[in-house]
């Protein structure tokens, strides 16, 4: 392969091709000192994950705040503000022992903070935690270092929802009590948490600075003197800043996927795949004539070359989808539902299915005219849509590409269901109950970002309910397999691509491998 002028830039700095991940064996012990800079896509609105799920807010929030637990790479749940916990046999009562820690303003952290936060803020303001809050019956604080949570029904993802990412970050009661958390200056101007870094300075539109918390409960950490979030709204500029050595870290949520390959090829940079499973889905408005027929949807699936999409539009990152859910939760898979066998790329069979469905070509050779929407901030959207337009033109389906801005498109798809087809992505938080079920259950219809397809199947609804309440991965997996079997035939949604987002970072920034969805920099350090 001939490397053109511009891609050689990286290679000039080191060897040619190199591995994606830095190998840990070469790293020495962590070194203290230095400041790491990471990118955010826009100015944060609030530094409080519990009242906002926007990406920019999230990227800075979990640097300051901590949940009772943390989720480490691979979905392992580890103690954080809670040093240990016990679960009752009926999976209803959780008893946590809290660590000795202080707020950044010097006040001690106690169980009162936990009770206040979960009841008064997370349950009421967090769009993610509020799902969990619905199954909580009571929260008790019997001692300053003890907290007891009782659930109405077993809820497997409960522990996971207690981390910062899910809106379970613990806030200082003494600063929030009696105020509106949304407008409290602690949220909007100067956060006070327990995390490894404390807030230092915020220049709107430029950066938010955090400095090392000298009083951190985990003695010896953090290694860095500080971290800074720099506002870089253009996606291309983030990579440029990274390559120019101005920033050290671009989180997976805002790292342009088109630049993965380039970073992978350069030994001065590294990529860390995000642990959060995420799928790219084409949602279908099944109330539209033509699209209301499962045969047509199956035909569209067979007219779509998902491997080609992977190689081109997705730049080879991730994997082609093989089932309605994500391939990365094998315990929930159905052996019988494999898209490579059910719906291989085969335009001829697609045409045959369209014939069967009664969609005959008109004078132009067109059988069906549809509009395909996507969110204009989705980097891959135009590529995927354009490629699909090309592919489908071979089976007589004429596609009009109709992107829209997030603010306009989201209500159009999810609230008004005013669309034909749309490209969206769902991320699951590691459990189908967290983030995937909403795509198909009837109860999630009519609001963002639930079920926009008009597909309503009582059997599916019932199975998802059962799966959420069942105990143990094996029992739940069996129920999810049943659901996937149905969804794989009905195809209210066409799952196209298994997305593996990656964070990009300079090779000298170490200790980021264990970070979950939102960065904390707890264990990060800079190699000389």
């Amino acid at each position: 392969m001939v490397f053109p002028m511009l891609s050689r830039i990286g290679c000039a700095l080191g060897a040619g091709l190199c591995l994606t991940l830095p190998t840990h064996a070469q790293d020495g012990p962590p070194v203290s000192g230095g400041t790491a800079i990471f990118a955010v896509g826009s100015d944060p609105a609030t530094i409080n994950r519990n009242i906002s799920t926007s990406t920019a807010d999230g990227l800075v929030s979990c640097v300051v705040y901590e949940g009772l637990v943390e989720v480490r790479a691979g979905g392992v749940i580890a103690p954080l503000l809670a040093s240990e916990w016990t679960v009752s046999d009926d999976n209803l009562v959780y008893e946590f022992t809290l660590r000795q820690a202080n707020w950044h303003d010097g006040q001690p952290f106690t169980s009162a903070d936990v009770k206040y936060t979960l009841e008064e803020v997370s349950a009421k303001f967090s769009s993610t935690f509020s799902i969990t809050a619905a199954v909580i019956s009571s929260i008790e604080a019997p001692a300053p270092d003890k907290i007891v949570v009782t659930l109405d029904q077993p809820y497997d993802p409960f522990l996971m929802s207690l981390n910062c990412t899910q809106g379970g970050a613990i806030l200082p009661k003494h600063l929030f009590e009696g105020t509106d958390p949304a407008t409290n200056p602690v949220s909007t101007q100067a956060p006070v948490g327990t995390g490894a870094f404390r807030f230092a300075e915020w220049r709107r539109g430029e950066y938010v600075k955090f400095e090392r918390n000298p009083d951190y409960w985990d003695a010896g950490k953090p290694y860095l003197d500080g971290v800074i979030a720099q506002v870089l709204p253009q996606s291309s500029s983030r990579t440029q800043a990274l390559m120019a050595g101005e920033i050290d870290y671009v989180a997976s949520q805002i790292m342009p996927s088109s630049d993965y390959r380039m970073l992978a090829d350069n030994p001065n940079f590294a990529l860390i795949p995000s642990p959060v499973p995420s799928i790219d889905v084409m949602v279908v408005n099944t109330t539209r004539p033509g699209l209301d027929d499962a045969k047509v949807r199956q035909a569209l699936m067979m007219a779509t070359d998902r491997d080609y999409l992977l190689a081109t539009a997705y730049q080879g990152a991730g994997a082609a989808a093989t089932m309605p859910f994500t391939n990365r939760m094998p315990w929930a898979a159905d052996a019988d539902t494999d898209y490579t066998k059910l719906y291989p790329y085969d335009p001829d069979r697609a045409i045959a299915l369209l014939d069967q469905a009664g969609l005959m070509p008109d004078a132009d050779g067109t059988r069906l005219r549809v509009a395909l929407g996507y969110l204009s901030d989705d980097q891959d959207g135009p590529l995927v849509a354009t490629a699909i337009k090309s592919m489908w033109s071979k089976v007589g389906v004429d596609v009009t590409i109709a992107p829209g801005e997030r603010a306009a498109m989201v209500p159009k798809i999810f609230v008004d269901n005013d669309y034909d087809l749309a490209l969206v992505s769902y991320s699951s938080g590691g459990d189908p109950a967290l983030g995937l079920a909403r795509m198909w259950v009837s109860s999630a219809a009519g609001r963002c970002c639930g079920n926009p397809t008009g597909y309503s199947n009582p059997e599916v609804d019932q199975l998802f309910d059962q799966a959420q309440q069942a105990a143990g991965q094996q029992a739940r997996g069996a129920i999810y397999a049943k659901v996937q079997h149905i969804l794989g035939r009905d195809l209210p949604t066409l799952t196209l691509h298994e997305r593996i987002l990656s964070s990009g970072l300079t090779a000298r920034l170490k200790g980021m491998e264990h970070e979950y969805y939102l960065p904390t920099f707890r264990e990060a350090w800079l190699q000389d």
Binding site: P4, L6, S235, S236, D259, S376, G381, T386, S390
Partner: protein, 288 residues
């Protein structure tokens, strides 16, 4: 010693002389030539390569070669074919926006300049309001409002560009309407409407048309700018859109953004130069 110098040799006719001057300027020939070639590509290219704009060749991001002259893009489409289809949109946007802005500007400027003082004041205040509105800001909001689409972008650019034409037109009409030949026409019994459109407006057109060619360039750049912010329809190929999506692959495929960038540069330059030349030649001061 005076009078009857009959002579009607071709070199004495002002019109012909202007044409000769235009044709004797290498810059003018070059810029008009480029414009003609581009228009030719925009018209003929998509016919020759009909249906191939959607064709996905097997390999993506192939550098320019004998096979595909300008390489292939991230989806494996031929960049050259895309450029041909893109030229249609970009030139259509540029030319159509300029034409409509110029027409609106001419009409409004003519009415303001020829009408009574009161009409003039009202029309010019309205124009001022449009001029006070920040153009790119307004364009972005309107695209967000209506969604992208070639027709809409043409409309937006036209809405934003007409005031400059209108102001220029008004000035010219004000100047011309005080010339005696207008009174001469009035004494021939022509109505005011006839005088405006037959006697005044045609003579006010030269500078306005020059600005028109500049609007073509502005429009192409504005379209590219909207594309840069993802505010244009991806359904239709345009140079701006190619440039924008090509930016993402600056490192892997320089040809994706360099060729559309060059195309925009050359086109805008050609229109600007052509406008300059026409202005220079029709400016009475440039004739000694």
């Amino acid at each position: 010693m005076q009078s009857s110098i009959p002579a009607s040799g071709p070199d004495t006719r002002v019109r012909d002389r202007r044409l000769v001057r235009l044709l004797s300027s290498s810059v003018a020939i070059l810029s008009f030539g480029v414009i003609l070639v581009l228009l030719g590509c925009a018209v003929i290219g998509p016919i020759v390569y009909s249906g191939q704009e959607l064709a996905l060749t097997s390999a993506s991001l192939v550098p320019p070669s004998g096979q595909s002259w300008l390489g292939t893009d991230e989806l494996g489409r031929d960049v050259f074919v895309q450029m041909l289809f893109g030229s249609r949109t970009s030139l259509l946007v540029g030319v159509a926006a300029a034409v409509s802005a110029t027409l609106v500007g001419i009409a409004i400027g003519a009415i303001a300049g020829f009408g009574s003082n009161r009409v003039d004041t009202v029309v010019m205040r309205v124009t001022e309001i449009f001029q006070v509105m920040p153009s790119f800001v307004l364009a972005a909001v309107i695209v967000a409002l209506w969604g992208p689409g070639t027709m809409r972008i043409i409309l937006i650019i036209a809405i934003l560009s007409w005031p400059q034409t209108a102001r220029l037109m008004r000035g010219e009409v004000l100047r011309i309407k005080s010339l005696d030949y207008v009174n001469a026409a009035r004494c021939l019994g022509m109505t005011e409407t006839q005088i405006l459109w037959r006697e005044v407006v045609p003579n006010a057109l030269a500078p306005v048309l020059t600005v028109g060619t500049l609007i073509v360039g502005q429009a192409i750049l504005l379209e590219a700018g909207l594309a840069f912010f993802g505010l244009t329809s991806p359904d239709v190929a345009s140079w701006g859109k190619m440039l924008n999506s090509g930016q993402r692959f600056f490192y892997q495929g320089w040809w994706l953004s360099v060729f559309p960038g060059l195309a925009i540069f050359v086109t805008v330059l050609a229109f600007n130069l052509a406008g300059d030349k026409v202005a220079e030649i029709f400016n009475p001061r440039s004739e000694d």
